[in-house]
Every structure is written in C-alpha cells, then in structure tokens.
C-alpha cells in the first residue's frame, strides 16, 4: 500500500478519532511523523499568506528569477512585486492581471479554487479597462504636475473627465 500523501510505502496505519468522523490514514514514516506532530502541537496556526507565497516562490524560482520578478512594477499603480510580497497587500485591481502568473497558484493554495462562482454586479461587468485607465491617468497627472508640465496635465485632466463623464452617463 502506498502512502496517502506521497509515493512511499505506507507502514503507519492511523485511526483518528478526534474529529467529527472516524478517519483512517495510511502513511509512510515521514508523513506519519508530520501528521502526528501537527496533531499534538498546542496551537496549530494556519500558514500566513506571505509565508505561502514565499514558499511557492522558493520552489519555483531561482534567486535570479526572483530578483527580476521582484523588480517588476504594475504599469497602473506602480507597485513592485517585492512591495506586494512584503506587505501582503496588492496595489490596484490590475495587479491580479499583471501578477497573474504568480498569484494564480497562490490563490489555489489559499482557497483550493481559482474561479469565482458567486455573486456578480447586477449592472453586469462594466468596462474594467477604462476604470483601470483612470487610476493610471490620475497617477501620471500627479507626476507631470510635480515636473511642472502643465500642458500635459491639462491633456490628462481632459482625458480623465471624459472617462468619468462616460461613467456618469450610464447610471
């Protein structure tokens, strides 16, 4: 018989009576040790999200890949991957797309699923791109004002107003 958690032969046969239902387990010595240790520990703490992410990256990336990945910045909000994985908070809705390759396995780790099946906004999914574009335009406007490029700032202001106006008209 093979271990239920890996491919090694199962030599430990455990019957767990502590849960709601009787649980029969067939494990190799290593997996059995791990299982029994987590059973006995006083306070089993759930792994943190950043902990999960770091482990996932360690397994999949070389140090150099990781360095390059850390330096990647979202074109919309400007957050770097490094900033995200340290703070554990994303910078804007577009990060879910921009860092999708790294986030998707994390989401499966955390939730066991990767597809939303619940409620949707009643008005239907609106033009997400133009909304995201607003985030970028406002950020750019702040930058050009700091650089005292008022001509560009005026252009940006008009673009922002146009998109905001479209959002208002279909309410």
């Amino acid at each position: 018989m093979k271990c239920q958690k890996c491919e090694k032969p199962a030599t430990f046969h455990i019957t767990d009576l502590t849960g709601d239902e009787l649980l029969a387990l067939h494990l190799c010595p290593d997996c059995a040790k791990e299982y029994l240790q987590t059973e006995d520990s006083e306070e089993p703490t759930a792994p943190t999200m950043t902990g999960m992410l770091n482990q996932q990256l360690k397994l999949e990336q070389t140090a150099e890949d990781l360095k390059a990945l850390d330096a990647r910045k979202c074109p919309i909000c400007g957050i770097s991957f490094y900033e995200f994985r340290h703070a554990g908070r994303l910078g804007c809705p577009h990060d879910y797309v921009f860092f999708g390759d790294e986030l998707d396995p994390l989401l499966v780790n955390v939730h066991g699923e990767s597809k939303h099946t619940g409620k949707e906004p009643k008005r239907g999914v609106r033009d997400a791109e133009s909304q995201t574009e607003l985030i970028r335009l406002r950020r750019e406007m702040r930058e050009v004002i700091e650089q005292e490029d008022y001509e560009r700032a005026t252009e940006l202001r008009d673009q922002i107003r146009t998109i905001e106006g479209e959002g208002q008209s279909d309410r």
Partner: protein, 358 residues
C-alpha cells in the same frame, strides 16, 4: 451627538434574542468591496483617500434605499469615540487606529455598518442577534445591490470582487457567528473543538477579531476561504457547523450540571457575588465573571437576572462605554472603581425590580 445617543442603548448584537440566543450572541456577515477607478488603500495618496470617502458619501446619500445610513467621519473622532465604535463592533480596531480620511456609515438599529477606507475601500457588515445567518445574508445582499447601483466595483469575471489582500478575493465574504462557550472552556474541551473546526477550513477568533484574546469565553467562528464557493455555500458551511458546536456546549453544560453540580453552582455564585460586591474590578475580570453569570442564568441557577441585562453590562463596562456613561475620561484605576460601582448599582436595581426576589 450620535455617539452619545448610542451609549445608553445596546445595539443589535447584544439584544439577547433570536434563535439559540443562550449560546449564539450574534450572526455577522461582511463583504469586502473596492471602487474600480482607484488604487487599493495601500497605494492611495491622501487625496485619493479623501476622494474615495467623499465619492462614497455623496453617491450613497442620494440613494433612496440607503436613506437610513448616517455617515460618521472617523478621522475627526476623539480616540475614546473611536474606541467606543470598536467595542460596539461597528468599526475594526485597524480602522480606529489607522490614519487618513476614513468614515463609517451606520443605520439607526446598528445592524449595518459600512466602513470606508479600511483595508479595502468598503467593508460592508450586517449583524443579527442570535443565530440567523440567512437573515443576515438576505439583508447584506440587498444592501450590496443598493450600493452597487451607485458605485462601480472592482470586479473580474474569473476572480470575482477584487480585494487588496488575495485571501479575500472572490466573494469578499466573511461569515461569522459569535458563540458563548463557557462550559467547553471549563471542561477543557475547547481546544479540541477548535482543532476540528480548523480541519474543515473554519477559523476561530476572539471577540474583537484577528489576534484578539478570547474574552469572557466568546469566540467567533468564521469561514477562511472566499473564492470558488457561492455566498450561499459559504453561509451553509458556517451554518452547518454552528449547531454542532452548540450541541457540544449543551452537552458540556449537562455534564457540569449532572456530574459537578456543586462546583458549577459555586463558580456561578462566586462570580455573581463578586460582581455585586467588588470595590474595584478590571474589564477582563468583569467579562470573565459575567460570562459565568450568563451561563448560570441560562441554566436556571440565577433567577433574578435576565440575559439582556447581562448583555448590557458586558458592553457598558468596557473602557470607552464606561467613560461615555460617566461623561468624563478616567484612567485605569479610576475606571476599575467606577466599573465596580456601576455593576453594584445595576445589579441591585435589577434585584429590587424583581418581585420574586426573596
């Protein structure tokens, strides 16, 4: 001012009624939502935060179905008023202690609260007294619809509602039930119950959320996962397990009554005695003793007190509430003296008010 009006009342979750209210204090659901056209809070400038706050307020104030909500500017509140809202579970500790433009909108029954600029732009919450998750879901679902008529949420068809932390993405929903489990604590079975809950992906926290200590034997049971399940499935996941926890607690209470009656009576009577006679008492000790008295009432060991009264004492003896009632700031030692006075007075009143008292 609104907050001072609130101080003398109890709020929805302490009403002490509703299904299974001897063990379940309240049922609560929260939804995390973000506006599509702003960065998440961490990347917001001060101007962004102020704009989010004013946009949300303006849009929601023009909605007919949201007329009952009153906006409170949390950034302008004194520390004690922010603490007061935390004690009432209307804002989170993080929301109270953070910086920058932020607000909360509350309805007159204190059933709904809407935090603006917490970890997400919007944290919508509905509370019900007792075990009533279905009712809470119905209410928050329609509240969410009314808000969404006014604002464009960050939403992606594959990932659902987009949140600042990937652990909330999808439904953005947390379903929590606040349970009172003194007998499982006394019989030392509580850890075992927690472990079995964790194994089925549920989280157990103390009264005031993440990282808070379990005060007065109150625990919150809630879902961990938010993606890949419908809202109804999440309500059911928590809703199915709470009756099992209730059943364990009742069995533990039966055991105490049948096997350790003297010990149990002694614990309850000593707790009641201390609350009536102490000259100074901390908020932790008060919670601990009120918890025992609460169980004593539910088991019929104390005849001259009612659950709503105990719930009132729970909330009014918390530091910010006590100071609101006293209408002055007090340091810890002063609070301990005033708390003991308040308890003594209230318990005397309720005993004298009861004609059956012998």
């Amino acid at each position: 001012m609104l907050i001072d009006d609130m101080a003398s009342r109890c709020g929805e979750w302490l009403r002490g009624s509703g299904p299974e209210s001897d063990i379940v204090m309240s049922s609560r659901i929260r939804l995390a939502r973000n506006l599509a056209d702003y960065p998440f809070i961490q990347r917001c400038t001060d101007i962004d935060r102020a704009n989010i706050e004013s946009t949300v307020r303006e849009r929601l104030e023009r909605s007919e179905s949201l007329k009952d909500l009153t906006f409170i500017n949390v950034a302008d509140l004194e520390l004690i008023d922010r603490q007061f809202l935390v004690e009432r579970q209307l804002i989170s500790r993080e929301h109270a202690n953070s910086d920058g433009a932020r607000a909360v909108a509350i309805d007159s029954n204190e059933r709904c609260s809407l935090m603006v600029n917490e970890e997400d732009h919007l944290r919508i919450q509905v509370m019900k007294s007792g075990f009533d998750l279905e009712g809470a879901w119905k209410q928050i679902d329609s509240l969410d619809d009314s808000i969404e008529e006014q604002l464009t949420y960050a939403f992606n068809p594959n990932l659902g509602y987009l949140t600042a932390c990937p652990t909330n993405v999808g439904t953005g929903m947390r379903v929590s039930v606040l349970v009172h489990l003194p007998a499982l604590v006394i019989t030392k079975q509580i850890e075992k119950v927690f472990r079995s809950l964790q194994r089925i992906n549920l989280v157990v926290r103390g009264l005031y959320g993440e990282g808070s200590q379990a005060m007065g034997d109150f625990y919150q049971v809630s879902n961990q996962v938010t993606l890949g399940k419908t809202e109804a499935e999440l309500v059911q996941q928590v809703g199915d397990v709470v009756p099992v926890v209730i059943d364990y607690e009742r069995k533990a209470r039966d055991f105490l009554i049948n096997e350790q009656q003297n010990d149990l009576f002694d614990r309850v009577s000593r707790a009641y005695g201390t609350l009536q006679n102490a000259r100074q008492i901390s908020s932790e000790e008060t919670m601990f003793l009120l918890s025992r008295v609460r169980m004593g009432i539910n088991l019929g060991l104390i005849g001259d007190l009612e659950i709503p009264k105990i719930n009132q004492l729970f909330i009014h003896t918390q530091p910010a509430h006590l100071q609101k009632l006293y209408q002055s700031t007090l340091d810890t030692d002063e609070r301990n003296v005033e708390r003991a006075k308040y308890l003594k007075g209230q318990l005397k009143l309720s005993r004298e008010g009861d004609p059956d008292q012998n």
